[in-house]
Amino acid sequence: MSITIYVPCDSSAISLGADRVAVAITKEAEKRSIDIQLIRNGSRGMFWLEPLVEVVTDEGRLAYGPVQVSDVVSLFDANFIKGGSHPLFLGLTEELEYLKKQQRLTFARIGKTDPVSLEDYVNNDGYRGLRNALNLPQTDIVKAVTDSGLRGRGGAAFPTGIKWNTVLNTPSEQKYIICNADEGDSGTFSDRMVMEGDPFVLIEGMTIAGLAVDATQGYIYLRVEYPHAHKALDTAIEKAYEAGYLGNDILGSGKVFHLEVRLGAGAYICGEETSLMESLEGKRGLVRFKPPLPAISGLFGKPTVVNNVISLASVPIILDKGGDYYRDFGMGRSRGTLPLQLAGNIKHTGLVELAFGLTLRELLYDFGGGSASGRPIKAVQVGGPLGAYLPESQFDTPLDYEAFAAIWAVLGHGGVVAFDDTVDMAEMARYSMEFCAIESCGKCTPCRIGSTRGYEVMDEIIAGRELGKNIPLLRDLCNTLLNGSLCALGGMTPYPVLSALNHFPEDFGIDDKANAA
């Protein structure tokens, strides 16, 4: 009987050699006349173990990792296809602590299935949500999403159900669903993992959104930096059309939904929803004034739902198991789960999906195992390049939108980047200002000019010149950015800058915190 072997096709796994390992396993099996079926699955999200090779046995799926091409012969020698012992043997995949401790709702299938197999998708609870939605009145679909408590996972945490309700109640002959797959935040990769590892869940979520608000056209605005996600989405969309899950008559219901991927072009600001719509319309990505809200006048002036990949990919399970099921996870006003992304100087980097409420410290140490370098973790940036830096004294903050807001920080898209004690926080503050200057759309002066002034002042501070004048100047610039910017690029760049200054004044050449004021 043929042996089933899984080797991930996730681009992080590929970046560590998964493609070569897959080829080497196939060749070695041929050489030994062993009949194998090699499936490229998504990643389980344990990147220190990638490339993670799994073998299907009577006991279940057994894991070996991290596997390099040079290990392949010895794996066959050890009879790994029957679960033979080997230094890289890890045991049953699902029993690995890192995975076992998680609550995977949105990521339920990722790593288990062949991402572009519609059959795998349907056999693993796929399209159950859509089938339910097809039998519900639109208000009930929206109500399920509202009841779930789902808040946008793209950064702003706005309630998804409320947004959908506005679009539903705005009459128009044409409406749109846009999936924001620009994933520009550094330290984040959950959108990428969904698109590469389970593209049908996003397609299903968008189709449900279309049914809910009467939108017949969807666009996935995908960053050009993700070629693997692009291929997976295009393949999955084609299969969904062929099988009648997309098109002019979805599963014989007479309902219409069309879907297309559009590529961005390397502009961070195009992740901001109004800039994104300008870009989709074929223009420069200048941020629009709000109001009008996109839900009322969005793409080509029509009512438009713009949601993040994770928000939309969480919809199928909500429509399958009900709003209550999802809402029962979480704490306070943060309901459901958040796929956290552990990155940077961390031993066990990866994807950790958990109900809100775990503390940052538990995430960094219980899951992450501390720093990769073995040195103390000095600072952690949560929520992307516009997120605050947290010092050790704040590591006990629970991962919850409100708890983070209370310490002038954000959860954003759930990216967590750790730095050890070799980091110079003044350099990081300078980088934040430089990033803002590079990515500014140029529409408002504080952001365009202030950010350039900002890194010039940081250069002075780093050189130790006239701190008595330059530190207050930096604070003034931050105030102008905070209060005078049209969007969060200019408006939140002060988060990383001021948190670095306030928590690590010594890196700015200031001896005591009192003088940092």
């Binding site: 681009s11 990147f47 984040t188 990769f189 993700y226 559009r262 990155a343 940036q381 390049p385 990033f435």
Partner: protein, 158 residues
């Protein structure tokens, strides 16, 4: 056909396939850059005419987006991540090595025309920092040594 007339033919073909899409400009620019490696100045009037835009508008869009380039890149383009996660894992030292090894700065092309170096702000490979892309190939946990071998392998492929 001369080089320039075959280039115009390629551009025309891309425009014809894509111009009826809503918001066709970005898809067309991607099509042109995919085919030619860049968006040449000669393509601007043709694209502008097909979409009923002014040349200035088309030019404005090309220059707004970091990814679109109006000059020919080297045979291979290296996108090196400069963002936070990669910095936390020695990205800055890697950047110095890359620039010295290639003898160029960001936005430049080596004298032999083989490599262009561009910065990128996150590749979504932050769990394996520092990261880079050579053309569409992704690399993780890049060291000075692994960078050198990646460059050598890419050169051999060429």
């Amino acid at each position: 056909m001369t080089d320039s007339s075959s280039m115009q033919a390629t551009i025309q073909e891309i425009i014809t396939t894509l111009k009826n899409k809503p918001g066709a400009l970005l898809p067309i620019l991607h099509g042109v850059q995919n085919a030619l490696g860049y968006v040449p100045a000669e393509s601007v009037p043709t694209i502008a005419k097909a979409l009923n835009l002014s040349r200035a508008e088309v030019h404005g869009v090309i220059s707004f987006y970091h990814y679109f380039r109006d000059n020919k890149p080297g045979k291979h383009t290296i996108h090196l991540c400069r963002a936070e996660s990669c910095q936390s894992m020695g990205g800055k030292q890697l950047e110095n090595h890359v620039k010295t090894r290639l003898g160029i700065d960001f936005h430049e092309t080596t004298a032999d025309g083989k490599f262009t170096l561009e910065p990128v702000y996150c590749l979504g490979n932050c769990a394996c920092s520092p990261a880079m892309q050579i053309d569409e190939e992704i690399y993780g946990r890049v060291t000075a040594n692994s960078f050198d071998s990646a460059i050598n392998e890419t050169e051999e492929l060429a």
